[in-house]
């Protein structure tokens, strides 16, 4: 058997540990590949950065732990940015698997930034029926959330005293692993004129570029790379930037395997044609 024939007959279980090594080694021995932010990430960063201090920002955690690896780094970077710019954070969850994530992420960022609950940030928790929540928020957030996640009436939270609906928010950001941004665009942006941005998984990112072109999204982060771009703009490395080394090495390995596989295929096909009687 020639090298190419042996390559085409290679068991896939040989490739799996190689991919695993391509992820482990860059995490243990960082390389430090540069990440160049793309325009959608820059636009989102600028949209947050240009808000006047004291302008509340609504962040909706619309994903569950299955996509935590891609979206939590984005959430942490956005939370850090808002707290650094003194933009009060109003955090909600429209996915049933999200509340626990929201509490964990907010506690982590609050500990490192000494943010105060009820003043710098608050977590209103989960309500089902995304459309109903988004529409109710447009009239009065108290219709959807009479109390926060910890059952404190919203009237008792200082940061929500002057927040009634989207008109009092500087920006709405949905971090989503399903089609929640479509619903936010259709109801919050089109009906109530809310400024809206999204952070989505890489699988979903191509679907939302049309919203960027029409201006329905002011900015967008796509996948772990999007999180890395935001961290690079913020100047605060996190899991996004850390993961880019491994991402690059694995992608190069996959490209190499695909190219070798195609070369092996065409060469073996030509050899078979030559040896045919």
């Amino acid at each position: 058997m020639t090298f190419f024939e042996r390559f085409l007959a290679l068991d896939r279980r040989v490739i799996y540990p190689l991919v695993g090594l391509a992820v482990v080694l860059p995490l243990v021995f960082p390389i430090g590949f540069k990440v160049r932010p793309t325009p959608p990430a820059e636009n989102l960063f600028r949209a947050v950065d240009r808000l006047k201090p004291g302008t509340p920002v609504l962040v909706s955690i619309d994903y569950d732990p299955s996509t935590e690896a891609e979206l939590s780094p984005m959430a942490i970077a956005i939370f850090r940015h808002c707290i650094r710019r003194h933009l009060p954070l109003v955090v909600i969850a429209l996915d049933p698997g999200a509340p626990g994530l929201g509490v964990t992420l907010l506690d982590k960022v609050a500990r490192e930034t000494h943010a105060r609950y009820g003043v710098d940030y608050c977590f209103l928790g989960y309500k089902s029926g995304a459309e109903a929540v988004i529409l109710a928020f447009g009239r009065d957030l108290r219709l959807a959330y009479p109390a926060d996640y910890y059952n404190i009436p919203v009237e008792q939270l200082p940061l929500l005293r002057h927040v009634k609906n989207y008109d009092d928010l500087g920006l709405v950001i949905s971090l989503a692993a399903a089609n929640y941004p479509d619903v936010w665009v259709a109801y919050a942006h089109e009906r109530f004129g809310a400024r809206f941005a999204a952070g989505v998984t890489a699988v979903m990112a191509p679907e939302y570029y049309p919203y960027l072109d029409t201006g329905q999204l002011v900015g967008m982060l796509g996948g772990l790379k999007g999180a890395a771009e935001y961290e690079a703009l913020l100047g605060r490395p996190g899991l996004g930037l850390k993961g880019m080394d491994a991402q690059t090495i694995v992608h190069l390995f996959i490209v190499l395997i695909i190219v070798l596989g195609n070369v092996a295929y065409f060469i073996t096909r030509r050899q078979a044609a030559r040896t045919r009687p």
């Binding site: 089902s128 529409l135 009479p146 259709a186 890489a202 990112a205 991402q247």
Partner: protein, 248 residues
């Protein structure tokens, strides 16, 4: 190296490795982890929906006296019905609750038809709510966006003139992206138009549409690969950082 002393980190690491054992071959450890994941997810979501939906929106208004956001005592609907004789207060809460119970009739084949009524109500209400937002956001705005991209019309003489006077990657792309977008939209829609045979001019345009579709699928596939690798990186980082403490 600081191995975690948290039992739940060890449980998560063990279940992660059980799932990854499938890469070698199917085995009882993988099956156990998979079934555990499905069961815990379903149970967790059911509890979340029950405590965040049924209890505050149905149970409390009907059966539990409670305080509103201004601290005023609000009597439950049944108290008002039997104590005050007011029967209409709880109707707005009771009727949706009854509709929800009717959906459960689906589980009994003989009375399964009962579930069609609340489903019909739900679909009708949702369509009425969605149709205007959907038309505005997903159709009209997108048609406008196809014809006007970032403030420039699709065929912009100004952009072409800039591209010819100052040829470069950015100016040429800005000039041709509008016409390319229109060609792509028309060609792709033609591919999905099956009322006429794809022969001659229509066939040629449909073939161009196929090229656009393939480019789109290729970009989507590339993003999908990136997404899967990112999830793997997240899991490996958990094993190395939270479990074994090899990385920070």
């Amino acid at each position: 190296m600081h191995i975690s002393m948290n039992i739940w980190v060890w449980v998560a690491a063990a279940l992660t490795l059980c799932i990854y054992s499938f890469l070698y071959k199917d085995n009882p450890f993988y099956k156990f982890a998979e079934h555990l994941f499905v069961g815990v997810s379903a149970g967790y979501i059911m509890v979340m929906e029950f405590t965040n939906n049924i209890i505050p929106n149905l149970w409390n208004p009907l059966f539990v006296n409670h305080f509103d956001e201004k601290g005023r005592l609000v009597s439950c609907a049944f108290y008002q019905l039997f104590h005050d004789g007011r029967w209409n207060i709880g109707l707005l809460t009771l009727l949706p609750g009854l509709l929800g119970l009717m959906v459960l009739a689906r589980l009994l084949p003989k009375v399964g038809w009962v579930s069609r009524w609340p489903l019909a109500f739900y679909f009708g209400a949702y369509q009425g709510l969605a149709i205007i937002g959907a038309m505005q956001a997903w159709v009209l705005a997108q048609v406008f966006g196809t014809l006007v991209t970032q403030g420039n019309p699709v065929f912009s003489l100004a952009l072409f003139s800039t591209a010819t006077q100052h040829p470069g990657w950015t100016t040429v792309v800005a000039a041709v992206s509008g016409p390319l977008m229109i060609v792509g939209v028309i060609a792709t829609l033609t591919y999905f138009f099956f009322s006429t045979e794809h022969k001659g001019v229509v066939g040629g345009v449909a073939k161009v549409g196929i090229v656009y579709l393939m480019v789109g699928f290729g970009a989507s596939f590339g993003y999908t690969v990136m997404a899967r690798v990112s999830l793997l990186i997240g899991r490996i980082h958990f094993l190395l950082a939270d479990w074994l403490g090899v990385v920070s």
